[in-house]
């Protein structure tokens, strides 16, 4: 089902191709397309190939036949969904006329949830389906949590490939990034979920396995330095490969995302990630109503349910609008450098070209887009 898969290595990018020509390459190499429209005005014709991953070519005036792979099943499923949904609405209606407790809102909620249940993998949705599910989700957020949220599905910009660099000499272990991340990404407060881990390391050791991420004392501690980890958005991500239902994939701008409404919660990806970057919702996640970040992205920080996996997305809801990830913005020491690897004038490119950088567990060949460096 999963179609074209091209491997793209960073060695390639940096040594052989140079940054300028790599843009085309990366854009043809990716599966999935958030914008869901091949009609998007893109400079390279190669860019349209990104639709091959899911066949989400229905937008932009292309005939829906472009997704021949999926056209039939979707119709069948939609038919089932409509049928059951209709039946359910009738039942809900009957129930509501019997019991005064079931309000119109209850009925609407049930119906919306059923329509949600039968929706497709995000990568296979047409533009219309995307708009519809977003409308339903926004409405459900209002009905369920009484919060007005705005969910976007902003797609990757052509010519963008995100990368991150972490300055070990500067980080002092304050964990401001951790807190900012929790708030920005609506992380479950009850279980205390965190995407970022800051390891306190003894001077003289560079092995992250000897670090301590549970430190609880004033920082910086004498004789120690700090190293942060999170999802490194690997260019060759094992987590994507293992997912049995294709609920997680790499976007054209290099961000590895999860479709929270498609994940079945098998946690195979959690076992496959060599950087311990994935988190599972063991119970229903809770965010106090007043603290919900309403600026949301379908593939980013929108609210999750129990039983699905999630992870850092380099704050896709922010970075696709040209802003910095919350962690980079919150860091008081300037240890975090974020930017577009394909832009020769970006700070991240400066770091990669002028500093000695290294990555964790390079021997595993995952090609993380997250580098460490020292002043």
């Amino acid at each position: 089902m999963n179609t074209e898969k091209t491997r793209f290595t960073f060695g390639d990018l940096m040594v052989r191709c140079g940054f300028a020509t790599a843009s085309e390459k990366t854009h043809t190499a990716r599966q999935g397309d958030t914008q869901g429209g091949c009609g998007n005005p893109r400079p390279q014709t190669g860019a349209s190939c990104s639709c091959s991953g899911g066949g989400a070519c229905n937008g932009g005036g292309n005939p829906p036949g472009g997704s021949s792979l999926t056209a039939k099943p979707v119709t069948r499923r939609q038919a089932i969904g409509a049928m059951v949904g209709g039946a359910l609405a009738t039942t809900a209606f009957a129930a509501s006329s019997l019991s005064p407790k079931t309000s119109d809102e209850e009925r609407e909620k049930t119906l919306l949830k059923w329509q949600e249940y039968f929706k497709d993998n995000f990568r296979l949705m047409s533009d219309r389906e995307k708009a519809e599910t977003i409308q339903r989700l926004e409405r459900l957020a209002y009905l369920d949590h009484a919060t007005d949220v705005k969910i976007k599905a902003t797609g990757a910009k052509p010519g963008v490939l995100f990368g991150y660099a972490f300055n070990i000499s500067k980080c002092k272990g304050y964990r401001s990034c951790v807190d900012a991340c929790i708030k920005e990404n609506n992380l479950d407060r009850k279980s205390g979920m965190q995407y970022i881990r800051i390891f306190e390391m003894e001077n003289g050791k560079m092995d992250i396995e000897s670090g301590n991420a549970e430190y609880d004392h004033p920082v910086p501690a004498e004789g120690h330095f700090y190293m942060g980890t999170q999802c490194f958005q690997c260019a060759n991500p094992p987590c994507v490969e293992v997912c049995p239902v294709g609920a997680t994939w790499q976007e054209p701008d290099g961000i590895v995302v999860v479709d929270y409404d498609w994940c079945i919660g098998c946690r195979y990806c959690e076992a496959a990630c060599p950087y311990w970057a994935r988190r599972f919702n063991w119970s229903e996640p809770e965010v106090p109503a007043g603290e919900v970040n309403a600026n949301q992205h379908y593939l980013g920080n929108r609210q999750r349910k129990k039983g699905v996996v999630e992870k850092c997305t380099f704050c896709v809801q922010r970075t696709r609008e040209g802003r910095l990830p919350a962690c980079a913005e919150a860091c008081p020491t300037g240890a975090r450098v974020f930017g577009n690897l394909l832009d020769p004038d970006s700070e991240i490119r400066y770091v990669l070209e002028h500093k000695q950088v290294f990555r964790l567990k390079e021997e595993l060949g995952c090609e993380p887009k997250f580098w460490y460096f020292m002043d």
Partner: protein
């Protein structure tokens, strides 16, 4: 019409029986209900009611799953000589073996389902209407091979039994090709399940080329060991004649597999402990404990001692051939491999985490109740299958429409 009679008679046979039989089935039913209750709590509150965490993200459920895939695969050990090598000795054991395979598979699938965080979305896995990440995901492979194997092992015995029931000779040309297929398939289900773990470089404890072969060896020890216990029980409690040679041959298979398994264990231990590297941390945790964490240590040493003792007993011809020693040896081997290839294999893979953190895992009572419930379900299925198969095999349950062809009936014993 025959099918209707078959179903009716099967139901009558399965539900009828003495006091002990009803007591047994009643106990299993109670356990299943308890498991169902545990699962309903888990569905309501999420997997947080289990002992699993982001650090140890698979626990008792997947441990039992890996073990049971082995048990299911081991049914081939019975099928292979019986059908392919025309080894008459094995004919009685064959149907029983396939029954074991079916019930083990039912348990496997149940363990996978209860481990899912969002089981209501299972349809995402169905090719065609879902999104089946094949061939990239080994889990997708596993879905195919396990379900295929289940279908094979349901169809073959059903065909044979139904033919018998209708007083017809099962036609070899019709089912033997499928038997061959199922033999290969059995190796397949086990290898795929091993590759599911071995294919993760993030977890050095599993990322070993020996994992697949070791899975096979241990399965071919635990499977026949279980069969021996079961056949002896059937022999003692029913008129179904199981010959001594059958048991002796199964014991031989068990012995060789157990010996090979021990050799592989030794070679793994050597690799992990001769030079202690970062990649040996998990094995260290398992056998000796790390930084004061050693929940698995007593378990694995129990398994090793049982394993060595059992293999020792089986290796000595005198002891293996004595009924007194064979039974405890098989039991020990079965338990040892359940520990070793269940949570002794799955859980250390997560400890320490890829970033070196040590978080231990202890199953909660919910997990244990659900696990017990699934085992009870497996035994229930197995009991029903055997209960129905034996009288048909013996010729005491026959279609009322079938004409009595005594000569054919007599010939049946040698066929199968």
């Amino acid at each position: 019409m025959n099918l209707y009679y078959f179903m009716r008679d099967a139901l009558v046979t399965a539900t009828g029986g003495g006091r002990r039989y009803h007591l047994w089935m009643g106990t299993l039913t109670l356990l299943m209900l308890a498991g169902l209750y545990g699962y309903s709590v888990q569905l309501r509150d999420g997997l947080a009611v289990t002992g699993m965490s982001d650090h140890v993200s698979w626990g008792l459920y997947i441990s039992n799953f890996t073990f049971l895939v082995g048990l299911a695969a081991a049914a081939v050990m019975i099928v292979l000589p019986a059908y392919v090598l025309k080894d008459v000795d094995f004919s009685q054991a064959v149907l029983i073996g396939e029954g074991v395979a079916v019930s083990a598979l039912v348990m496997c699938l149940a363990f996978v389902v209860v481990d899912l965080g969002s089981p209501h979305r299972f349809w995402h896995l169905i090719p065609g209407i879902g999104f089946f990440n094949f061939p990239s995901s080994l889990l997708a492979w596993d879905v195919i091979v396990l379900n295929g194997y289940l279908v094979l092992n349901l169809c073959i015995p059903f065909y044979i039994l139904f033919s018998r029931y209708c007083n017809r000779l099962p036609r070899k040309r019709l089912y033997v090709p499928f038997v061959y297929l199922s033999v290969f398939w059995a190796v397949g289900i086990h290898m795929v399940t091993a590759f599911l773990l071995a294919g993760l470089p993030a977890r050095p404890f599993w990322n070993s080329s020996l994992l697949g072969p070791r899975f096979l060896a241990s399965a071919f020890a635990a499977g026949p060991a279980f069969m021996i216990l079961l056949l002896q029980f059937i022999r003692a409690n029913s008129p179904y004649a199981i010959r001594d040679e059958t048991i002796a041959k199964l014991a031989m298979i068990t012995t060789v597999a157990a010996q090979i398994n021990l050799i592989m264990l030794g070679s793994e231990l050597f690799k992990e402990f001769y030079r202690h590297t970062h990649h040996s941390q998990s094995a260290y945790y398992l056998f000796f404990g790390l930084d004061g964490h050693h929940a698995l240590r007593p378990w694995i040493w129990t398994a090793i001692i049982l394993n060595i003792t059992a293999t020792g007993i089986l290796t000595l011809h005198r002891l293996r051939n004595s009924r007194f020693w064979l039974r405890p040896a098989c039991l020990m081997l079965f338990v040892a491999i359940w520990i070793e290839k269940g949570f002794g294999l799955v859980i250390p893979g997560f400890i320490p985490s890829p970033l070196g953190e040590i978080v231990e895992y202890t199953p909660t009572w919910i997990e244990m109740v659900v696990t017990l419930g699934i085992w009870a379900m497996g035994l229930f299925v197995l009991t029903v299958l055997i209960r129905v198969a034996i009288p048909i095999e013996l010729g005491s349950v026959r279609s009322p429409k079938a004409t009595d062809v005594e000569t054919k009936l007599q010939g049946l014993g040698a066929q199968s």
